[in-house]
Symmetry: D2
Subunit: 403 residues, 4 copies
Amino acid sequence: MNTNPKKIALAYSGGLDTSIIIPWLKEHYPAPIVAVIADVGQGDDYEKLRQKALRTGADEVVVAPLAEEFLTGYVWPTLKAGCVYDKTYLLGTSMARPIIAKKQVEVALATGCDAVAHGCTGKGNDQVRFELPYMALAPQLQVIAPWREWDIVSREDAIAYAEKHHVPIDQTVKKIYSRDQNLWHISHEGGALEDPAQEPPEDMWLLTRSLRDAPDTAETVTIGFERGVPVSLDGQRLSAVALLTRLNELAGRHGVGRADLVENRFVGMKSRGAYETPGGTVLVTALRELESLTVDRATAEMKEQLGHVYARLVYNGQWFTPLREALDAFTDHALARTTGEVKVKLHKGHVLTVARTSPNSLYSNALASFTMGELYDQKDAAGFIRCIGLPQKMAALLGVNRP
Amino acid sequence: MNTNPKKIALAYSGGLDTSIIIPWLKEHYPAPIVAVIADVGQGDDYEKLRQKALRTGADEVVVAPLAEEFLTGYVWPTLKAGCVYDKTYLLGTSMARPIIAKKQVEVALATGCDAVAHGCTGKGNDQVRFELPYMALAPQLQVIAPWREWDIVSREDAIAYAEKHHVPIDQTVKKIYSRDQNLWHISHEGGALEDPAQEPPEDMWLLTRSLRDAPDTAETVTIGFERGVPVSLDGQRLSAVALLTRLNELAGRHGVGRADLVENRFVGMKSRGAYETPGGTVLVTALRELESLTVDRATAEMKEQLGHVYARLVYNGQWFTPLREALDAFTDHALARTTGEVKVKLHKGHVLTVARTSPNSLYSNALASFTMGELYDQKDAAGFIRCIGLPQKMAALLGVNRP
Amino acid sequence: MNTNPKKIALAYSGGLDTSIIIPWLKEHYPAPIVAVIADVGQGDDYEKLRQKALRTGADEVVVAPLAEEFLTGYVWPTLKAGCVYDKTYLLGTSMARPIIAKKQVEVALATGCDAVAHGCTGKGNDQVRFELPYMALAPQLQVIAPWREWDIVSREDAIAYAEKHHVPIDQTVKKIYSRDQNLWHISHEGGALEDPAQEPPEDMWLLTRSLRDAPDTAETVTIGFERGVPVSLDGQRLSAVALLTRLNELAGRHGVGRADLVENRFVGMKSRGAYETPGGTVLVTALRELESLTVDRATAEMKEQLGHVYARLVYNGQWFTPLREALDAFTDHALARTTGEVKVKLHKGHVLTVARTSPNSLYSNALASFTMGELYDQKDAAGFIRCIGLPQKMAALLGVNRP
Amino acid sequence: MNTNPKKIALAYSGGLDTSIIIPWLKEHYPAPIVAVIADVGQGDDYEKLRQKALRTGADEVVVAPLAEEFLTGYVWPTLKAGCVYDKTYLLGTSMARPIIAKKQVEVALATGCDAVAHGCTGKGNDQVRFELPYMALAPQLQVIAPWREWDIVSREDAIAYAEKHHVPIDQTVKKIYSRDQNLWHISHEGGALEDPAQEPPEDMWLLTRSLRDAPDTAETVTIGFERGVPVSLDGQRLSAVALLTRLNELAGRHGVGRADLVENRFVGMKSRGAYETPGGTVLVTALRELESLTVDRATAEMKEQLGHVYARLVYNGQWFTPLREALDAFTDHALARTTGEVKVKLHKGHVLTVARTSPNSLYSNALASFTMGELYDQKDAAGFIRCIGLPQKMAALLGVNRP
């Protein structure tokens, strides 16, 4: 890894970290830089970012509009797989990294780069989520991770370096949170969060209202799904971006989608993170409720177990792997009939199910009802129980296992 | 099963179902009846129940105070195992059945019964949860399940039978919900719930206030755990019953602990249930947060997976099985260091973590912090990533798996 | 189930059990009988069976040649899924039942039957493997299981009944094994096997030579696979039936493929079975060796785990289920690159791998070799280990978990 | 890791690799060396090894007799957990590393060392299996892994270095296999094995006779187990070392216990290994057969799944982890009743079960027999099947899931 790259494609966000990387690269690797700006719905002014990149030393800039593909190709599959990491984190950052890395690799190859660089630190998950895709998609490219090379060891150092190299920053030492945003979520790390015995300050949250400020009156919305994919709101068919944008606004207003957890990073340490995923939280709940009608018990149990596996793959940056793809094949089949509508009520941070309906529902009122009917003979249950209990009965009769 | 029992021990709750069973048994099985009343914290007037049982035909009555044992021997192990069935149900009814069945068997053996009877229908889970324990603990006893034998096929039929046999009922046809309560929870089935496209009516809920009525001001409480078992509230050591009673009151006031789901019954059909588990919901959340400090990643992942298995065993009535006991051994070891305190805020139906602390915390601020330190060399991550990604890199270089 | 069927389709094998069912059905259900004879490669004289069925009372006979479809549609998917039940049983009987039941249902519907019957006892697995497919494919059909209805309780009773009704039998009381054969395997139950402390007598085995009689000289054969499916022997492309027929002969001659185990039946009891699967044993071994080249570690681990699930589904008769189909989707993807050849040596009951080759091999001699090369920097391993060990290091430094 | 150690404890085997490490350490780290020689039953002349270590530059030598503890504390737990890695490897090397590392750490701490060194390369699994225990047991110790530091890149280089530094070697360039032996097994890597399309040469195998040379006559042996632990041979109670020594001799004579596989190393690449585990193969088979009598189906299924997890932990060097210990707790409970005897026949490389007996057997001849009895009512199976099949029946009736 000591080769001198001829041209470098940098994943550029315009934040403090990637901004100072441009002058640092110029100083240490005398090669032209292509700044790759990925629009995954974070809502930045991409023209302004382009200018900033050029001004601070980038030789070329590519802005890639990826929001729709991000949702349909990365978020929906993860949603369908039922992924929730550590019971609460909806994987917003994890899902965005592979599509950004993939685009970065494509730009690198198209513009004649032989190296790729990113602005992730050596302690976090994101370096993995960038570099594993590089290795899977273009292992011949050199990887430059300045945070693992340079002497900058703190945010304060980084700001000093920026000032010294005339990199404009809107970041001040007081803006202590490290954040990552896209159309699905925003994450918060650092500052007060570094102490797990401290509550996240109310002013940290950006996309969701507090319980206090959330309206006293609930609002309902109906989400339509086709084969596990969200396709409509209140009966209106929408693009993925339009659907999630509207749902984010609605759910955020009602304080839906906050999470605060101590998680286990892939590189080995525990860390604290807070997340806001307003629309996503609604979708996860709604899809689960629809599946409760359309998926049979055995498939649901296996899907739940595989959802944990899928979540770990996504969290760990192992998106471009045969295992992830094989799990997609499982999920696609398992949800082939998961079409229908779920009506939910958003209220004071809650997503409350009002109605689940599906043309493929396996729920039978006649079967479930207390009142007995013809589909099911209660006497069957006696035989069922006696077969299920046979091993314990034998153990008891043989005097084994039980006192 | 056509033998004539000499004496029958009946699991007696005093509700409509078990009340009419006494005269029905008298009519069809001419044998003395011992009514076994289990106090698992449902808060009934047990003296009144005793009188009612005797008045309607029971020959003997045993009232068994089981609440403390129910919590320490059944609820705490399930809590420690991390059980949540179908992502939302906290298994309140499922955990109570085995202890009731066990006591019923003990009474049966002590009073010379050769048969046991229960009032569960042939469509539900509870028949399994009674009868599998019978088979494991005393397979020689005959099992009588009147609901699988008689002609009564609806609640209306049951009421008519009660009236005909002068069984006093406070149940009317309008009181349509089928309910089961203990110190951990109350369940609701039937009525409007039988349609999954209908919202539970607000007046169905009994233990938790509505979001509207829950106070605008949050309340905090600190739960102390020792080896995964809740032992104190706000620093005050309490018995299990005292602790949960107080927590139920607090959490119920803030609307915490409602669940509404379509679930998959063990006997094969989907059904709809609603549950209120106020204090339990707080404990599940708090323990999970404490574990996030004290349990390492690999153990946590395995524990999560085994928690699903444990939940299914409990849901399915397979409590007295070698597998459940072996899983307990796993959990006890996994939580041997899970001692500490979690402070939570109860507000508008939410349990929000305020602080997690443990003398055995594996969280290292120095490691987690953005600022770099000595415990961890960032360059290590490069090697880590290159080893993790080696299979995908080789696949790419060999032209396999990736286009 | 007390309805009087108008016409009955019987799964007819020509053995003792199904032979006496014809007169018994005539006696108890006065309806025409269609005998359905499935050829799954068991090698019977089907014309003779047809005559026997008609002679003993069947009104119609359908002989269905299913061997090729049995292999391609049932055996190959199970092989690809990596199924081995209880570590040794290759599921020969389990895989055959669903295709027979499916054909039986098709014949029933085509010939105007409203009932289906089979000759399995009420203690075994096969009743489940027939009836679950009936329920999945044509739940409206009445199911008749004479063994669960009649008074015949032993093989001796059955023979007496046959003699009384002039049903010709080549079965004598001394021929005590209950057997099931198809192109994949033969199973043996009963007789000396009922005692798990008794060795299977040498004369019980039918398809495989004893170790003593197997040749002293090994024989080699090369199996070609495409996407996990066996397609050729020694370079010669063959139909499924031709391939397995030849492999059975070869492997049987060398004593390959015996299994003898105590297994856990789905209906709850333990039982003893012995199996001969000569060609199948070779295929299972060969495919596993090929996968060791073509499948990456993470996918292989998951596939192994799901193989157990698949094996249980097959064993339990749950073939026509959404879960089995979703697992197929996973496997098909996981084995999309598993093309290549495996050369094995058959010798004294062993299948010894001689050579594994694949155009998609992920094995890199340069990487595996003791001699160091360029693809991998040994220093990376240091970082890898330090990240992997970080949780235990922190636990040790914090004085947690380790004494 | 650039600190200068004051004193180094070296895991010393006396082979080529560790022998040249002594002069190399002397050259690069001017500190006294304590050579730690672990006797895990590899059968070396330890006095000779001691002299060799001193002669080539070690300042102190400690010979630690660990064979009995190796079996009882490491091998038996892994045996009980049912571990087989990649379906064939019995983990002989993997289990030995942690006990050696633990002893090395103890010696290091007792003799005032501040560093530990080992002779594993940077490409293999063993470096991980040494260093993770170091990190778990004494993270303050510096780790020196010469193979990841020096310029020696091949066996030829190593031999040249040895000759130059007058280190006596019995290794020649032609002795190409890299081997590791202990009482449980011997492993072979390198040489012809590096090509997965080449068969292991017959002269590579050291502990097991070829099929050709194995006796034509079988030999039987009865293994007694208590709670899953082997305690006797043919009724004679033996220490672990005595038992395995005798079993190795017996099984080796009959050619039992060879394995040859392409495996997935923890550091990411595929490699080829061959193993001989004669006595161990007998024990694995015998214990599995005993468990088939004593363990119920549900526990057996879970144990099988957890066995894979345990095997990966052991293979990966993650012995000293909370997860491994929690899995032990599970296994200990699951096998609490696995006491009994298994008689096996060793013949031409096979371990054939002759008889399984246990006072805690759950096998009931009456239940398993074809002949019907009183313990089980066949009609129960009908109800069992109808409950199990209800979801598919409903799906079919509702027109969902099936065409």
